[in-house]
Symmetry: C2
Subunit: 253 residues, 2 copies
DNA sequence: CGACACTTTGATACAAATCAACGAGGGTGG
DNA sequence: CCACCCTCGTTGATTTGTATCAAAGTGTCG
């Protein structure tokens, strides 16, 4: 089975992770028509007000979803990693209410909206799997509300690092304790509802407390559990499949 | 067709509002097995950690979805009105990561999870309609992130009042300019990431500015557009069907 | 090597939290 | 029917976390 390198393979893997798909279902997903493109950092995959005609799947790279306010303030409402549909909601709701922008160079696949809808109508199990994926995404956003609404800057940062670490690990991109972070401090601020200056001070605080270490664009978490405690982090809201190792089972160098 | 008073009728109406359902689809929804119960204010419909076996549909009343933090802080992540599924996500994700609590006395219908899944597997159009509904819910949560992350207390309150007004109007419960608000100031604070004291001062500020009026448990919006401007409110994120009247078409007494 | 984007630091200003009471309505029991 | 209590709303004084403004460092890429 050398479908291993099929561009949509990662999507299939991600869906199978949480839902049971038959061989036929998997093949139906892989049979989806698509066209791939390379894009550079900073490019937009969606803009407010657009009416989408195709669904964009992130094959590699890292993207942010955000809204701009009248006074120029920006709030990031989510990050996307490879395997994520970036604008499926907008497709189904007929209009984008946010912007999606790449933070790194990336490869994307465009799938005609009609083909997606057709696939989901003819394959209930696939529809269900995609639905469940979108519910898990929604759960993450809800946890962001909790963070931004009720946690201190220090906890918010700790929580976000924990989340990104786990999500990266779950996506098979390495250990939860070493996060490849293609974000500027300004973007961290826009994600957490804080200013750049305050992010800077808080990052340094965490560093002084030995809760994180930094080297270039990565963040290292020397003691996962301690950081999780500072962030009030519990992975339940990520709704990983049950196979996920307990926190205590993992402890990185 | 005296199905008019079928308890699930409101659900059918809500789904048909945004999606096209055939007569068969509608009847399949109405044929769902269910049992209704009356519940009193304060009762929980779901609790963190529970494994749901049935889906709860709110037939009447008002509920909040919230999370508790270690230090006792509470963050409300959403409100539910009649016609909403209150825990469909938890059912599909196998475990509740939040609590759902009634704010008013209410009637609810319990539908066995297996029957829901079966319905959605056999009727793709219904599955799609329910999915779209959950996407619209997610969009609301994302706007909450924007509010809590980047808006001032005054704007947050204005924005929430606008949202609740429109949602209530959309649900056929009256004009957007008169909101039946079964919330204490503490609950408003927990929803907006502010303290009770600060909510109190901000409410009075809006009142002094003649942006809202209060009488018992309702809030009256004398000039919708002015309040919408203060809140930076634009209804796009609610993703109502296109038939929605433009803001300027409506202006209440 | 220069340009530019990002990080870091300091000084100051505010918005919102906290702490502490008091007031007012609404339901309950005597 | 009144007195009581309990929750909710209101207000003031004070503190604190975070924003704002300003400027100097640092790194990286052409």
């Amino acid at each position: 089975m050398e479908a291993k390198h099929h561009p949509l393979q990662r999507l299939v893997t991600k869906l199978s992770d949480r839902s049971a798909l038959s061989e036929d279902d998997r093949e139906a997903v892989l049979a989806l028509p698509y066209s791939t493109r390379a894009k550079s950092a900073g490019q937009h995959l969606a803009r407010v007000g657009q009416v989408p005609t195709s669904c964009t799947l992130l094959l590699s790279g890292f993207a942010q979803r955000y809204r701009l306010l009248a006074d120029g303030a920006r709030q990031i409402v989510g990050f996307h990693v490879e395997g994520d549909f970036v604008d499926l909601h907008f497709s189904m709701l007929h209009r984008a209410s946010q912007c999606v922008q790449l933070l790194t160079p990336a490869r994307v696949a465009d799938i005609p909206k009609a083909a997606m809808v057709e696939l989901m109508r003819s394959r209930p199990a696939v529809a269900e799997a995609i639905w469940i994926e979108s519910l898990a995404d929604a759960s993450i956003v809800q946890e962001w509300v909790v963070s931004i609404g009720r946690r201190s800057a220090r906890s918010r940062l700790a929580h976000l690092f924990c989340e990104l670490g786990l999500r990266q690990e779950q996506a098979g991109l390495g250990s939860r304790c070493r996060i490849e972070l293609p974000l500027t401090q300004e973007q961290l601020g826009d994600a957490l509802g804080l200013t750049t200056v305050h992010i800077n001070r808080t990052v340094k605080l965490l560093e002084n407390e030995r809760l994180i270490e930094r080297s270039r664009r990565s963040v290292i978490i020397p003691d996962w559990e301690k950081l999780a405690e500072v962030g009030g982090f519990s992975s339940a809201y990520l709704h990983f499949a049950a196979s996920e190792p307990t926190l205590s089972q993992v402890n990185c160098p």
